[in-house]
Amino acid sequence: MSTQVPQEQEEAEVDAGESRPRSPHQERRLQEKASKREEGQRESEERAREGEETVEIKVFRYDPEVEAKQEPRFDTFHVPFEKGMTVLDAVMYARDHYDSSLTFRHSCRQAICGSDAFFINGRQRLGCQTQIAELDTPVRIEPLPHQEVVKDLVVDMDSFYEQMEAVEPYFQTNELPEGDLEEQRQSRENREKIKMGTRCIWCASCMSSCNIAAGDDQYLGPAPISMAYRFAMDEREGEDMKEHRLRIIEQEHGVWRCQTQFSCTNVCPKDIPITEHIQGLKREAVKKNLKFW
């Protein structure tokens, strides 16, 4: 039985881009490398399967530069299973033992850097935070939907970063206490209120799960709006700043687009009540507008 079960067509939005021109010699080399890789992959999988408990993962593959991968497909890997194994562990194993070209972002392995959000069994999750034992197998691992795929599980994050930065995600206050070592006081209640909003790790899971964001690339989107909430509600920023912030999120592609579908809140790996934050800002905006009426 072959361990490669590719050619499963997938409708992920892939921008094939332009592959750069290559000499016939280079092409031949690429082919050779590819076939060697497949061979190694098969061999090591045979070994892995002998007598060991394995888990089957199906990983989305795409590379605009490599002919065999220009057509998106799924590769199947059998990874030896260990208790406590996460999805990230499994893809790392597959990369380190079967195919070093398998590409994904990851770093902290502890749900804080936000770089390994994938679409795992049909839902946005962090690879490192998701136990294999809790999933149905084969585990299907895809890049975040609605984002442009760069290669394999890596998506382009630029537009997400742009939206995050569009809400002026930085503290702005005019009044500083006197004395170099005086901090600005903040009540415990106020810290509690903004606390969840400060937990965002910029993983873009919420953005990827949101129907509105998928159809409107100018929509600020869940994480940026939740970020705006974190600042707008911070009592250390002045009233004029709060108004400025409300103006930003009230724009045409701002809070009013949200249709309260809760998909962002459902997938957020940091349990941030995003929808609640969006609703909170809508209320604040209404209050402000009533004031000016």
Binding site: R29, E65, V66, A111, V150
Partner: protein, 619 residues
Amino acid sequence: MHEHDVLVVGAGGAGLRAAIAAHEEGADVAIVTKLHPVRSHTGAAEGGINAALRDGDSWEDHAYDTMKGSDYLGDAPAIETLCQDSPEETIQLERWGMPFSREEDGRVSQRPFGGLSFPRTTYAGAETGHHLLHTLYQQVVKRGIAVYDEWYVSRLAVTEDPDPEKRECHGVVAFDVQTGEVAGFRARNGVVLATGGPGQVYDHTTNAVSCTGDGPAMAYRAGVPMEDMEFIQFHPTTLPSTGVLISEGVRGEGGILYNDKGERFMFEHGYASNSGELASRDVVARAELTEVNEGRGVNDEYVHLDMRHLGEERIIDRLENILHLAGDFEGVDGLVEPMPVKPGQHYAMGGIETDENGETLVSGLYAVGECACVSVHGSNRLGGNALPELIVFGARAGRHAAGTDLGEAIIETGRTEDTEIGEVDTPVAPGAIHTDTDDEAVTDGGDPRGEGASVIPEPVEIVERAVEAENRRIEHLMEKDEGVQQAELREKLQKTMTRNVNVFRTEAGLKQALRDIREVREQYQDVYVADPSRTFNTDLQQTIEMRNLIDTAEAITLGALARDEFRGAHWRQEYQERRDEKWLKHTLLSWNDGTPELWYKPVILEGEEKTYEPKIRSY
């Protein structure tokens, strides 16, 4: 070629703080980082940041605790600077909006931490690093500082003088991870390395996968010494299966360590009769492993950390993140059961040799944060002292690189009259492998001196040459069709380091590690990149990182073999005593044309107003 006044390599706490400081001095700054800034490992820091902020506390007390914690291997001018500047820098973070935990009166909260005589660890829940990193990045966005994210810096552009002290750094070479494009970056004023720790040298570590010692290894090959590399901190409370950290804050809040017999061993077995769980990290890590080795460990592997008695409310308020970590990564509910913990690699006290202004002996080259050794931690870092290091020395290096006069540094870099040449009996010749077949610049990567030139080239030319050399190396790695892959080598290296250069060290083990490292280095000559694509080629990136891991691992092991004493985190079976007469000095390792040279310089125990007298360290 890109051109800026100041280039900051790395965007963790240290790099971001340096960039902001340089920008505030009016410099045109750019950050080049292999991860997007918010992905940096600083985000994982949990416990807190030490600053003497309250009545009853003083920077002097902080300095004293730090010197004692360092086991008298820290340099007083650096430690005093850290403790003097930390309060203002910490309040600066607060003024930039960092959401610290708060007291009833609205001021920032502080808590006790190991080795501190006052509860001066300022914190934001158990996710201090996340908030620090994000707050600093927000300020970078606010100032519009240029960020080249997902650009991997693989080589420094340094002039070719045979004497490293006469070399100058003019920039770096990096490749765009997304497209594979290799580009030169010229820095008119200075390059600040802030590339973080080297935890990936070990297989059980709290460090991120990106912590591969790139900065120290690149600087080392460009002629800058690595200092005190043998001092690796092993954190006493990491989760056994992943290495994920359980913050010292748990013990700070009153968490208790038990062995398999239910004994509170820190007290009952006399490891730290006064401070118990709050003794400093080296003491607790050894105690735990001794329990395991003497048969009192749980499942012969770990001990238990119990916080249940603190009560749900306090846990949720101050340690909520710990509940998530224990649950997600170990499947343990900290509210109803104790958490399994064991020591894991955590922090490198050593790094690139710098002075208090962050400058190295190569002019125009700076280093800050965990990749540097300004020598504030000596042989053992106190918890909560790394984050202040990032902001204090980050700010100083940024300013200095931007051209601000910070006064002459007291700490001298490079060789001086006090330099003592070291010798150590090694089982294999450490350093580069010279093969006659390959262009050494290719597989060995990074030696600044290419073909000798008679006239001193212009800075731009220096950068261009470095780009050429880097292109050759990358082409070679990509063209090669067979050989060995980095993952295999990485595993081998990590295994031998964990087995032989861990908490407990023996001469035989260290020698074995050197032999293994040598073998890995030899095999590395035959390494190749299987992924043929230039797009997001992590195989290529990891292969280059692997080279850095080899040099870093070798420096750690050589230093450990040379230092025949027991100091701080460095325990040697054959030498169970601190030997002040011989060892009140720093270990330095220089890459002289591929042959590591070991030398020593004295520790500076003289502070501004007093001299710190080495005392027995008891807790």
